[in-house]
Amino acid sequence: MDLDPALQTFYVESREILEEVEDILLRLGQEDEASQKESLNAIFRAAHTIKGSAGLFKLQNIVIFTHVVESLLDQMRESEISIDDDIIALLLKCGDHIGELVTLVQQNNADLPPDLKESGEVLLAQLKQYSGVSVFEVKESIKNNNGKESNQKKSWHISLRFGCNVLREGMDPLSFVRYLETLGEIENIVTLDDALPRLVDFDPESCYLGLEIKFKTQVDKQSIEDAFKFIQEDSTITILSPGSRVSDYLKLIDEMPEENQRLGDVLVQCGSLTAAELAAAWPQPNIKVALNKQDRVRMPVVQETRSMRVDAGKLDEHINLVGELVIASAGAALRAQEMGDTTLNELSSILTRLVEEVRDSALHLRMIQVGPTFNKFQRIVHDMSKDLGKEIEMVISGADTDLDKTVIEKISDPLTHLIRNSVDHGIESPVEREEKNKPRKGKLYLSAYHDSGCVVIEVADDGNGLNRDRILSKAKEKGLVREDQKLMDKDIDNLIFEPGFSTADKVTNISGRGVGMDVVKRNIEELRGTIELDSRPGEGSTFRIRLPLTLAIIDGFLVNVENSSFVIPLEMVHECVELNGVNCKIDTDRNYVNLRGEILPFIRLRALFSTGGVAPKRENVVIVNYAGVKAGLVVDNLMGEFQTVIKPLGEIFSHVPGLGGSSILGNGEVALILDVPGLVNRVSSMENFSIQSAV
């Protein structure tokens, strides 16, 4: 038995709620009055939910702090306090503080560490300046059941039938009763044993209890509902508001599984209905209602759940298994083909198709939207621009673009770096911008979209663009470029991706902390992605990141050298030609060919990999294209396109440039996946090395 699942849900949900609140807060300043009102309501509800859930788990620190925030929000909602940048900044900090408190609970720390306590007190003092509500008052009011004037209190009726798993999931009906007691006063409560089975059928860990509660409180329906948020999925919860008609109660009686007469009595016992009201409603035992009830099949109400949480590890395991399935089915298909049995072939092709569908849907499970990650940057931009005295508006588009979860996790750091760079170096200060006849407020665009099987993420700004002179002089200073070397603009721009390059003249604490763009580039390449840069001096720059949709599967082109099979990522394959065919002549004994007049360097995989053996009469060239560089790979045979699951090669082979992983073919054989950029780099560095040593 474990209390954890419910708490885990609390952690996750609180975080999600806090993230939402952050988004709303960041938008709040720019909104018109009507939408501000709506946003404030949303924030208020969010704070309320967190407070309510925290109360359920007896997390007093969170309850008290959130309550103060909530009071302020309430006053803002009532327009008693106006919205300005300072209050938004304060609320943002409060959100962070609540997040830290949640983390603390998650780490099982009962005591507040002094620094957190102190920062909390500072925030509370600031909050008090606005709202006039102090912690002391809050503590008192929480103690007194939020005891405002009792004339505002109204009687509600709450009817609860707990789902059979609530105890197993760490929820105790009692804790709900106790939580309700903090919200108001339980006037009457009746515990129902009707669902308790006979001893033989009794499962001690299942919950069979039902409660009928007459509850007097001044809080609104939402707050009462929030108390039951964690059990609403499989429990039946009915909340009748004050002043509900007798017919509403009759409906409740009708919907509940217990005998009508019995439940009627219970409600009378509760004080929610009077005996006279009931007698008037049911002149005689109500046969019709009773019959209706018998007719109805006693089926638990099927709850429509739109999503469910699944452990990421389970998902990965599932996808691995599907990967195995793909390999096994490819093996079966191969064998079926060899046997030449028509029926078997048909069956196997159906199987192959189904397996492919299963694989696609499995991979889809890992896809999540980039939105939440993007929104995280709102905050970074907001805070940074404040620190730097800049005015920046961030424009997000394509937040609903799906991307593999791992890719999203790993892209977050490089993106942070690019965005920090744009804010720090790209966008100018308001004064500078005005001098250039640009609007004071700079714009930072973060967008995602699909493009031919890849996902493209763009970070663009309307700032100053790259300073080519400075880049060039710096590159010369660092020996990356020779003094007399002439470079195209694009080549100069791309120098910033060179290892050990950092352009900022003054090193601020924001960027330029030693991690350069080369790391960004490497991180992206590790994801099998590419990054390109487009800079227009004075107008701004755009970084464009291309990423594969998923890391688990690769569309490959299978080739063969001697007895080994290699997979070349299909997106890099430009075309295939026969070596020394009509279109492709070797002019000299150098390592380049004449491809329809174009000079194309090539690599003989046979030589590079020292496979031994003799080259066949007809060799083929696979022309690959990556980041604008074209090269040919000379192989023996072309085996065709092929989609495959990527298997990591392990640490032993991690230093081998040119190998990106491995994959298992239908016949069980392992094929190595070529890492084209690595391969080309290796060959060119080897050539440089031998040229230099020859001199």
Binding site: L167, L174, D193, L196
Partner: protein, 107 residues
């Protein structure tokens, strides 16, 4: 764990330790015996340190099943923890015997 002590026609049972979801399953055989014992049953909750809804369910089940068989069942010596829950859920009338506070017993 429930210990049983026979005193002629009366059986005095006593629950030791927790009566919670963590122990609910372990107590099954003990409760089976408690429910089916044909003698008058007195169950002491003096040593129950913790009790939750699953414990309440056991007690309610015991009460109901013994009522059904016309066997007597009396809960005695409620610990303060138990008293609180009985109050929260308004259960004292369910377990018909009047709740006797500690000070009054044994006089």
């Amino acid at each position: 764990m429930i210990s049983f002590e026979e005193q002629g026609q009366l059986c005095c049972a006593q629950i030791e330790g927790d009566l919670t979801i963590y122990t609910a399953a372990e107590l099954k055989s003990d409760f089976e015996r408690l429910i089916s014992d044909q003698r008058d049953m007195e169950l002491s909750l003096a040593n129950v340190s913790e009790i939750d809804s699953s414990g309440i369910q056991w007690l309610m089940l015991a009460q109901r099943e013994r009522n059904r068989q016309n066997l007597s069942f009396r809960i005695i010596d409620h610990s303060s923890e138990v008293l609180q829950i009985f109050k929260d859920l308004d259960l004292s009338s369910y377990f018909k015997e009047p709740v006797i506070l500690d000070q009054e017993k044994g006089e």
